[in-house]
Symmetry: D2
Subunit: 458 residues, 4 copies
């Protein structure tokens, strides 16, 4: 279960390069495969990109010599491999001697047919990003000026996009009319900052202003802010940002993730048909919900899983493939707190179920009497087409199994998923304005011709 | 505050190289500067060493082609820089065509004079490790056989040492007669494993047997185990292993760190002269004590600090030096849980006080009413000569300031340190068998001529 | 004075990847900045590119696992720097899921206006290569089939181009109608090879067939060879290939470079108004002409300059800039052969004159009586627009100085340049079919809007 | 056939680091495997070492920040592989807080027994260099002062050594009493320079003073020069320095290599029993002798082999092993000058004969009528124990074959080796003061227990 991306944009701030670097750090959880920055001081544009984590890719940057005043950034998850270096975002082009760039979080659902039309007219594509389609649509638009060309191009798109666009004069922050993915606005120095999550603002010292509206095109330049609107569609915020993706110290869609996540835990505690002697979170994603569960049930919380903080992404490289080892190296159990206890494990969600199975086995080995699991969302049964890289439908354990079957596979004495209503009622936003398609299969947008993540690779 | 080292040794296990690799992972918290492995299949000895984390240094190892049956390993913290590559442990020598190696956790307090004597006789040193002294003392011993030469050499040493020695026939696990540092024995496959901490055994699937005795020389070869004794000295276990260093999922000196740490929190909660609305741990080192404090005080625990898991060691490299940024990037606060609350922050210990000062400032900025801090050990006033790299005495905030002065500097409404008696009473081991010199200044061993970490550098 | 490029193409040969690798080695003198290979086994296309020498860029290639049956290659000289990685040739595109690539030696003189027109239509360029223009012209052509589209595009070009084009079915070898740059055809295994120079054929074991005709489009696929013709223009072969660029063991334009170069030396010897005691070549470019001069004058040849073979391109990197040191490290003089002699130094050409000045100073320091210089071409007075990167006109020492002035600057007792007639008469090709514009300023093609090597950079 | 080493030392010169860097460049032909520099400004000692060529290893040096006033350097040839990093010279030790270093060209013939004695006393060795023995012998000497300890140690050595030693106060230049290897003294700035060859002096701007005497210990410090003598032995200069190793622009043993090498060619020409139409040198080692041969025979010299200057050491890496390709890539023939000619090829020496065989095949393929070879030294029949790494005796083609047999193997119409007397008479030094053991088998020093290049590896 991987998020596709995080995006960032700043305008008129001191040392924009450093602000972008720190901002990408704060969004690292949204994509660890590659990252990039495009920054300008109004004279010279610098591009910094690479495969890997923010701190690896930018380790040689010099923030003293090259500061910049505005720019955009991107962290990405996607397919691996050298061949995808050209797909690192922001997607940058040089057109008539000037630099333009796009950073995109989301997924277009009609990019396949749009690209085919463009190629038939003799258009060369440089990447296999759906994002590139936007650039060509813009350039080929017959409209007069920049903003009209941009609206002309965006109107042709379907699917999810939180975009930040870099132009020689300023930046754009854009959210698709369904408003699938989060994007918020802050104040920094004499300028502004837009980011996928508000935790960015805490790190760089910016002040939170508001969430970008669904369908809003916000232009930031030397004249300040200016807003344009795309035609309305049904608002469909991704509820998974609250359950798992966003950092607990962020606001997304205008709401605190920590507060929401604890509320999910409390609702879960209220609904739970069983109870144990102690509550154990699966760290760190289950921590906050577990607090809520323990509070509501009035039973003690114990840190029964200890996380090894030194396991990086390359740990597994020299080892013979072993999922079991991968799970054990990350979390170790404390037998002293588990032995002879009825243990209630709190998880944020279950995707394939394989990791949970291995963890429950460790809990049993440590001497638990009974082992229950409470999950702070409903069963995930359907793929996401709007920016979350779930495994394929047949790998989703809940796609063809009910709770009782899953309980047996994982090896639990009891398993309970938060109800759809319980989940929706825990968030202080209109319940009809969420996309819950991964639970229900009801997609808010027609999926025209999406052919999978590698649809443009041979 | 840095631990010097972690050591590991295995004999007669399947794929010893892989076991050593995983073991060093489990000890990574004891040293992140460099690491090394010496492994043998009884025919060929392989040496793998490098500056950096275990997963960086060994990323190219091939566990299929080179398995090994026995070997030793080491993770190390020390001074930085290329010049210290020769100081990476295990310290390996080739003597008469055979390979010998030593891995050392601890610090000799009379190595300066021992080395001077050896140099006066025309002995060349290859490193600036105190460990190398042991090797030359052994080689120059006039005793007849290996074990007698070894005892002859060890008797000349003062200070702390948990050693693992590699010879062509087997390995030695040795603890100094004061027993300063932990070292434990486990069973694995048809052989044995010794490690600084028992969390190693969980990862590699070994069974915990016992702690190595103070002054014990344990030899492991094809005949099994054989023990020898060094002359007795006063037992002086390092109490800081329980407070901060050891992983909570380890046993050290035969006792669970998690259970002890929670007990420290409970004792602290009992002694506390103040109380707040919520308890907030400084993650992750304060987590377990905070559980104990919250339990005892019966007030809610909140994860008020959120840790960024993607901050590696090189994050700060391209940035202009900024302690403040270093603190903020690691932990972010959740204003929603802090606002208008009386907050009780739980820390494991205070060394310089600078980090705490910055963190409390963030808590106040988030809108706390009052901010208290509870520390799960007494004030640290004296340097350690037995293997912990505290800053110099004058950098220790408690060396010349009382609690009230420290409270003001950090900016707290209340500050309380656990009492010495409270601390000792929380651990189920004889109170007179601990070294508490960092709190009391009473050193169990005379410090003859230790001249600092770089005593052998020019 | 730098050549722009060397190109290579093979079809239906055993281990095409290895043949391309060796071929690029043989053309390394034509470009040392970057190189690239595109190779196919009819199923999978592999692209290998990098900045640096052939042996650096391809050091990790595996010729066993990835052999290929056909492909093209390129070595390049151009501006330095990371920013030009996207300019490494072959220029490769993915169009409708298929790979096309172009390798280009030469320089288009109307690419600026062609590119502007394309951009006005909304075309995005990926590089700042003039070569890319050819690709877009081809894709936008309204003609029916591949060859007609190609001819349609090529007809719009002005300037010099020896092209090799990679398509999914075969390769094209193309020479512009003026025939500025060399390109020859050979037989290898059951297939064919085209290369800028015939020395490639010796190394890979191919047999020389013929020079590609001016204006010829040669297609090589599974049906064999097929030729098409572009409309005729005045033939204008680059005479500098014989004087300096091409390797002496090559045939270019169908003639042996070694034989031609020795003939240039003999003609020079015949014309020379002075004579010395010994002839000393400036190695290695002056070696062959010096043989001819010494033969004609009947005076002994001495290797008075010794070349250091270990000076690579990065030697100068850590040194403070010093042209003098750069010259001395490359060539050292033998005082024993120079002392008290009248020395006749033979150079292939003089560009800026600075290197010659430093070398003559060394000859004098070694004790020569008199020092003469004979140059095997006329004075270079004008820039080249057809693929040779001479310095700007004002840096060419002969652009505004006569021989007598140059003699004084270099510090010679006598200086003689080969006459234009002497030069032309030494080559067994029609004298009117050469481009001699760098000597005469008469350009065979109108220079419409060439704006310099970085015309497409901002 | 590989030289073992080149050594360099400077004292009291401006920017010693830069001078050492350039000096090692000038000696690169004497060793390409690794190199090192030890340099001091009387306050701080810097050590720079690495595997690879001078320009690779030192590419990151900063000559501005770290200049130095004195130091030593070394280039080395030896076995390959990471395991020999500890064997990179200069061999550096830190003794009582001070740095000492040795750079050694040559080979000790009694180091095996010397090392064994030292190990029996409990001495640890850090490398497998015979050079290290010298360091321990010096440190263990019971003599009073430095120079007496040094002489005490050197007296125990047998074999060849041109040494440069670095001490905190100055440098030593030392030649063994047999004087096997060259070492010369020059004047630079206000100080001095010693080097294996005088070509170093030309590059750095030093003035040649004299060759170091056989058995001389020359100490250079702030008081100037001071000489000490080792007990006399029979002088035995390596004649191969003139034939092949030394650069033609050097003086070695006080004589010009170029002049000597041309004289060898003239003597060869005089002795030759056959004659051809043209003389072709095997470049570059055969160039100078070929000039002498052509002069004496009065037949034209042609550059029939063209050398590819871009073939570095890693060219062969990705290729399937092929000696033939290795030969062809380095030299290509010019059929136009060879066709229908009787060709006389001049080589400096024949070792295995395999390369010559491949080259002669190329000459024949190019259409030569008859092919003769003249070699500017006698047949090499015996291994060298004094610093040249010939292949083993059985690989030397002349060890068990006479000229007629070799002629047939190589495929020649005639083969002639210079006579021993002819060789000795061509050099203006006493004929009895040369080591000619590789030709005659008469070793000037008893070979006590030399066990091959890897005698100290397991």
């Amino acid at each position: 279960m991987k998020e596709s991306c995080g995006v960032i944009g700043v305008f008129n701030v001191r040392n924009a390069l450093k602000v972008l670097y720190l901002s990408l750090f704060s969004l690292q959880h949204r994509g660890q495969e590659s990252c990039g920055i495009v920054v300008s001081d109004f004279k010279k544009v610098s591009i910094h990109k690479g495969m890997g984590l923010v701190e690896e890719v930018f380790s040689e940057l010099n923030f003293e010599n090259s500061k910049g005043a505005f720019g955009i950034g991107h962290v990405r998850y996607s397919t691996t491999g050298c061949s995808s270096e050209r797909n690192i975002q922001p997607f940058v082009v040089n057109y008539k001697g000037k630099t333009y760039a796009i950073a995109h979080n989301g997924n277009l659902t009609n990019s396949y047919s749009l690209r085919k039309e463009l190629e038939d007219e003799g258009t060369l594509f440089q990447s296999t990003l759906d994002t590139e389609v936007i650039m060509h649509l813009f350039l080929k638009s017959k409209k007069e000026n920049f903003i009209e060309k941009l609206i002309d191009a965006l109107k042709k798109l379907q699917g999810s996009y939180a975009l930040v666009i870099f132009t020689p004069e300023g930046i754009y922050g854009i959210k698709d009319p369904n408003g699938f993915r989060p994007l918020c606005l802050g104040k920094l120095d004499n300028g502004y900052i837009v980011s996928s999550e508000s935790c960015t603002f805490d790190l760089v010292g910016a002040t939170y202003i508001r969430e970008i509206e669904s369908g809003e095109i916000l232009f930031i330049n030397n004249q300040g802010l200016k807003s344009y609107c795309l035609p309305r569609k049904k608002i469909s915020r991704c509820i998974f940002e609250f359950i798992y993706f966003a950092r607990p110290d962020s606001k997304v869609f205008g709401r605190s993730v920590y507060v929401t996540r604890k509320k999910l835990g409390e609702t879960l505690g209220k609904e739970l048909p069983f109870k144990g002697d102690i509550v154990i979170p699966v760290p760190d994603s289950g921590n906050i919900a577990a607090l809520g569960v323990a509070r509501k049930l009035k039973i003690p919380l114990e840190m029964g899983f200890i996380r090894n903080h030194y396991v990086g992404r390359t740990f597994i490289k020299p080892l013979p493939a072993s999922r079991e080892l991968g799970v054990k190296i990350k979390l170790n159990v404390i037998p002293e707190v588990i032995r002879n206890k009825n243990v209630l494990v709190v998880e944020d969600s279950i995707v394939r179920g394989t990791t949970s199975t291995l963890r429950i086995k460790e809990i049993r080995k440590a001497g638990a009497k009974k082992v229950y699991m409470a999950v702070s969302c409903p069963p995930i049964k359907h793929p996401c087409f709007f920016g979350i890289d779930f495994p394929s439908k047949k790998e989703l354990i809940a796609s063809d199994k009910n709770s009782e079957e899953i309980r047996k596979i994982i090896g639990l004495d009891g398993l309970y998923y938060l109800s759809l209503e319980g989940m929706l009622s825990s968030i202080s936003l209109p319940t009809e304005e969420f996309c819950t398609s991964c639970f229900t299969g009801h997609y808010p947008v027609e999926i025209i011709d999406f052919k999978g993540k590698e649809q443009f690779e041979k």
